[in-house]
């Protein structure tokens, strides 16, 4: 915005800005800086040995290499699968397109632990279609990543593609280009920014993949994220974990920076996709669209249905035993996470997250909107920084930094919703900011002229306009919190376990009872996040801010 509201002084901006600044400074910047120091120090003295070890030890180099190539392979497969679907979505008109788009987006909002459990249920060694090839950890990891990221490619590319005028293709055809030449010489170069943007984003998500690899990869496959967790939680080698976190932070920053560059070129493609497309009337067009639709339904539906089936089949019979057993505590073990209390914890933490993320997200949106243009262009990416930091590094940073010095929150349950809010509030910001920016200045001026002060203007004019966006963002924060795993494993003590942690523990323990309970809790969690997402979709009709 070029004009800033003159009636608002610097004071209210400062006041609104204080909330996100303190919040970010304390729970984001401070932990990240702590990681930085921790990786250079060992027992209080300056020492770069952990950092050097990351690049010299054979095991660490293997981990770095595996992290990169599994992300690269997952990205390639996702693009190969997503590109044809994106073509059909952007080119042809067909029924249920919006429904298919919604369906394909559900995996993206599912918790990683649920995705991992669903693939266990579908193609794992005890799964519905268990074959040696399918059940190979690597195959399962790649498939889970494709499942999770398919909609990223579909949405970004098809949104951009449909904006590319079809006359370019017509022009190429009249100039003698064969349809294949049209694709390679015209379409592909034109949609290149969207392909690169989506590929970078998918690569980053797979690079930071934690839950999927921890659960599906077994002991053999480890990414940087998983290794940070192992070093910190199992080996208590904090300097090593810190050094790995630093490497991870540098990588993700670079990836995010690259993505933002291309994303700007693709001009907000994921929001409000307006498909201008032609009807498909040839048999092969109808056929390929049908094929695409079936693929999406099957590919997104199968793991979710497998999860459901596995949660209600006991000894080859339909039974609710796994659900019923969630209420028992047979072992009386200290480390046993009671599923009911995990569900209760999850709901409480998510509700608190909804409130904190809502307040912080909205106040940061206000700060950006009312700041001078130059300052806003600095603040906006600053507030989005948590997005380019992986959950595991964040969780790790928080426990190593908040244990003593400033405030001791390590044992407090408050740490969990706070960590979740750091992860979720940028999404609130991204949904609320466009809504605030869409309010014409004249509306506020009219309100002031009619005698309303700043507060009354906010309550009676601005809030009613942005309430829909705020609700959308907050509900999204709620679903993120429900499924958050990477940071929670660090910040939550056993008595404050959440549903994803319960699933992780169940899957890690032997026996069909544990397995079945994992499926049952996963299915419940899937339904909760799924309902949250469909609710968002119904309320707002868009997915602004998800990508």
């Amino acid at each position: 915005m070029d004009r800033t509201d003159a009636s608002v002084g610097f004071g209210p901006v400062l006041a609104a800005g204080l909330i996100p600044f303190v919040f970010l400074g304390l729970f984001y910047c401070y932990p990240v800086i702590s990681i930085f120091f921790k990786s250079f120090t060992d027992a209080g003295s300056w020492n770069g040995s952990s950092l050097i070890a990351v690049f010299t030890s054979k095991r660490m180099i293997n981990i770095l290499w595996f992290t990169c190539w599994q992300a690269g392979l997952s990205t390639m497969v996702t693009l190969i699968v997503g590109l044809p679907c994106a073509y059909f979505f952007s080119t042809y008109q067909f029924r249920f397109k919006q429904t298919l788009l919604t369906l394909s987006t559900i995996p993206f909002v599912l918790p990683t632990v649920v995705v991992a459990a669903a693939f266990q249920a579908l193609i794992g060694d005890r799964g519905i279609i268990a074959t040696p090839l399918f059940s190979h950890p690597l195959f399962m990891i790649i498939m889970a990543h494709v499942f999770y990221n398919f909609s990223v490619v579909l949405r970004i590319i098809s949104g951009y593609w449909s904006q590319v005028s079809s006359t370019y293709a017509d022009a190429a055809r009249t100039l003698g280009a064969h349809p294949i030449q049209v694709f390679f010489r015209v379409h592909l170069p034109l949609i290149r920014p969207a392909i690169l943007a989506s590929a970078l984003l998918v690569f980053m998500y797979c690079f930071c993949s934690f839950g999927v690899i921890l659960i599906l990869g077994g002991p053999k496959f480890s990414t940087i994220e998983v290794e940070i967790y192992r070093q910190a939680a199992h080996l208590f080698n904090l300097p090593m974990a810190a050094a790995l976190s630093l490497v991870q932070i540098v990588f993700t920053f670079l990836l995010m920076w690259g993505y933002t560059r291309y994303q700007r070129k693709t001009a907000a493609p994921a929001s409000d996709i307006q498909y201008v497309s032609k009807p498909c009337d040839r048999w092969y067009q109808k056929g390929s669209v049908l094929l695409c639709g079936c693929f999406i339904i099957l590919f997104t539906g199968a793991p979710m249905i497998a999860l459901f089936i596995k949660s209600i089949i006991h000894d080859g019979q339909v039974s609710l035993i796994y659900y019923r057993s969630l209420f028992d505590n047979p072992t009386h073990s200290l480390f046993y996470i009671h599923p009911v209390s995990a569900i209760k914890n999850s709901l409480i933490f998510s509700l608190v997250t909804l409130i904190i993320a809502g307040v912080v997200g909205m106040s940061s949106a206000y700060t950006i909107h009312y700041s001078p243009k130059k300052m806003a262009s600095v603040l906006d990416p600053l507030f989005m920084l948590p997005l380019s930091t992986s959950a595991v590094t964040l969780g790790f940073g928080i426990i190593i930094s908040l244990d003593r010095s400033i405030i001791d929150l390590r044992t407090s349950p408050a740490l969990i919703p706070i960590t979740h809010s750091i992860i979720a509030f940028p999404f609130v910001l991204r949904t609320v900011l466009p809504a605030i920016q869409s309010i014409p200045i004249s509306l506020r001026e009219a309100s002031h002229v009619l005698g309303a002060g700043r507060f009354k203007t906010f309550m009676h004019v601005e809030l009613p306009i942005i309430i829909k966006a705020l609700t959308t963002g907050s509900v999204f924060a709620f679903t993120i919190s429900l499924g958050e795993f990477g940071a929670t494993v660090f910040t939550a003590r056993p008595e404050y376990s959440t549903m994803p942690m319960a699933i992780f523990r169940f899957l890690g323990n032997p026996g069909h009872m544990n397995y079945g309970q994992a499926m049952a809790v996963s299915f419940l969690l899937m339904c909760m996040t799924g309902i949250g997402f469909v609710l968002i979709e119904r309320v707002s009709g868009t997915h602004r801010g998800i990508f």
Partner: protein, 388 residues
């Protein structure tokens, strides 16, 4: 003329879009080296027709023949017809040179031959040295020239132009139209030019095909179309507004509410044979009248003064060397059921005309060659479709 002498023949072409008929049986012939204009208001199907010729869409039925052979099954990229698009569709990822060379690359020309051709094309459109510019750097007029060069470079058998001046401003339009036509005549390519602008069509076309709701209304040279529109729709589309209901008496005499008119037998004007008592609409060309004094003018022995209009001057304006006069004609035949209420006639009177004062009486003598009769059965087209 023999059929085989036509370069391009369109036979009974039909096309529906979303189940609504867009073209309902179009037949048309284009001669070699000719520029044919498809003229019509928006939604008449002219762009659809062009896309069918280009091969970008396919028709429900009918045939398109090129040099006697059907090309209906030939895909667009094998037809060797190029098209210039309304938004130019210049590839944003290629510079000027490689936009123009695209069609040549598709024909797998050698690099050297390509460079020579593109340079030649750039010179033809007056953009020598622009080869390495990016498309973003070009002005609207320059883009249009690059689009033309790109369409001409592969030496097409026929060039199709879809409103090539549509998105430009008026002054640029006129200059560029002159340039395009000059270039097209130089390269002697057969061209089909789609436009909704009558002035453009009259300037550019060897022949004009007037389309209306998916049908051919008339195909003629610009002069014939202007002076002898065959249908009331054509007349109205060309802007002839002086429309009066008539009743045919006999022997070329017709009766209207503002008086009696007689058609003459001038050469070139096919006078329709009509049944006495038949009804229809009379169009009086705006240039066909001059103001006269009471003693002047033609008087028929039986009917008295004919081809005479009495009326009140409503407004006078000076336009293109004429006095444009709005006249409220005086009703002659009060008994006639057809009313001439609210009837206003427009005439272009020579600049020497005197006594044109609003509110005063005027006496006009109409040249019989400026009368056009449209019998009732021809009036399938609702009036007002193209009223400006």
């Amino acid at each position: 003329m023999k059929t085989s002498s036509y370069e391009l023949e369109i036979v009974e072409l039909k096309k529906r879009i979303d189940k609504a008929p867009v073209l309902s049986g179009i037949s048309l012939q284009v001669k070699k080296g000719e520029c044919l204009c498809l003229l019509g208001s928006s939604g008449c199907g002219k762009t659809t027709l062009l896309r069918l010729v280009a091969g970008l869409d396919s028709p429900e039925s009918g045939d398109i023949r090129f040099r006697g052979k059907s090309i209906l099954t030939t895909p667009a990229h094998r037809r060797n017809f190029t098209m210039m698009f309304q938004d130019f569709a210049l590839f944003p990822h290629r510079d000027v040179f490689s936009n123009i060379s695209f069609g040549l690359e598709m024909k797998q020309w050698t690099r050297q031959r390509m460079i020579t051709k593109v340079d030649q094309m750039l010179e033809l459109v007056g953009l020598s040295g622009f080869g390495h510019r990016s498309i973003d750097e070009l002005s609207g007029g320059e883009r249009q020239r690059v689009a033309l060069a790109r369409a001409l470079a592969p030496e097409p058998d026929c060039i199709l132009l879809d409103e090539p001046l549509g998105s430009l401003d008026r002054i640029l339009k006129e200059r560029l139209l002159e340039d395009i036509m000059h270039i097209l005549k130089q390269v002697e390519t057969t061209a089909i030019f789609v436009t909704h602008d009558q002035a453009e069509a009259f300037y550019a076309a060897d022949r004009i095909c007037l389309l209306n709701q998916g049908r051919v209304e008339q195909v003629d040279t610009p002069t014939s179309l202007y002076y002898f529109p065959k249908t009331l729709y054509a007349a109205r589309f060309l802007g002839f507004k002086n429309k009066i209901p008539y009743r045919y008496l006999s022997d070329h005499h017709i009766d209207t509410c503002i008086g009696r008119f007689v058609q003459n037998e001038s050469p070139g004007h096919q006078r329709q044979e009509m049944v006495p008592g038949s009804k229809g609409e009379l169009i009086i060309l705006p240039d066909a009248a001059m103001n006269v004094t009471e003693s002047e003018g033609f008087v028929d022995e039986n009917a008295g003064p004919v081809n005479r209009i009495f009326g009140i001057v409503r407004q006078v304006s000076f336009k293109d060397g004429y006095h444009q006069v709005e006249v409220i004609p005086q009703c002659r035949d009060k008994q006639d059921a057809r009313s001439c209420d609210d009837l206003i006639l427009w005439f272009n009177l020579p600049k020497e005309s005197r006594g044109l004062v609003p509110g005063t009486e005027i006496r006009l003598q109409v040249d019989p060659s400026g009368l056009r009769l449209f019998q009732e059965k021809r009036q399938q087209i609702p009036l007002g479709v193209n009223d400006v």
